[in-house]
Symmetry: C2
Subunit: 134 residues, 2 copies
């Protein structure tokens, strides 16, 4: 069911410093920052040859990653995103097997303009998994 690893998201306390580090120290290809107000984050995409890293930083007062950065002030790996062909079918298959979908269970439009949903980390080895329909 799951396909490609679409991205790894790293929550960072200082987006400018983290971006400069990936560009200058790690020598990666870095895109300009994008504000995603509907998701409460500013995102910088690091383009690797086979996938992406997303540096994410809180935007606004109710960012969904604010609590994570409070708990992990230096930052940390926040989630990984797997691609699926049919997100409604994936959700139905997962919930039928007892996995919990965060929020109301309905896919939302994600940072790439595609339907996404998040799975409960407690059901997946403490790992927050995003599914994105491609």
């Amino acid at each position: 069911m799951i396909g490609r690893l679409n991205h790894v998201a790293i929550a960072v306390p200082d987006l400018e410093a983290a971006t400069a580090q990936y560009r200058d120290t790690l020598g990666a290809s870095v895109r300009p920052p994008q504000d995603e107000p509907e998701h409460g984050v500013t995102v910088v995409f690091i383009e690797l040859p086979n996938t992406k890293v997303e540096l994410i930083h809180p935007l606004g007062d109710a960012s969904p990653i604010a609590a994570f950065l409070e708990k992990n002030p230096a930052g940390g790996i926040h989630h990984i995103c797997y691609e699926v062909e049919d997100i409604a079918a994936a959700r139905d298959r997962l919930t039928a097997q007892g996995a919990r979908v965060l929020g109301g269970g309905e896919p939302k439009i994600g940072a790439h303009g595609k339907p996404v949903l998040f799975l409960h980390p407690k059901d997946f080895n403490g790992c927050l998994i995003e599914l994105e329909e491609v």
Copy 2:
């Protein structure tokens, strides 16, 4: 400098259950478990179309991931691995810019039989980064 994302490693408290979940619930292609006594882990590779996920579980009494699982009993994303062409050159470039290499700074042979080293998470947004020469 960094190339492909070689893998994302997820530390899991129950390797058999996590393997079954990736195979049966998430529908991924799963390889048999491999003991890596020199690294203190048993590894199951999940093969995605563009990269790998490595489920890792402690092996032996002095596993380097035992403390992580004590702190995160449900498991969690442990590290990410970027490929580099020349690991000695990568290390020299990084240490010249102030980044710290874990251990003695000399690359070791990793789970794939290639030279690897780990960078200090405090220098990289709280994210443990493995570099692997390919």
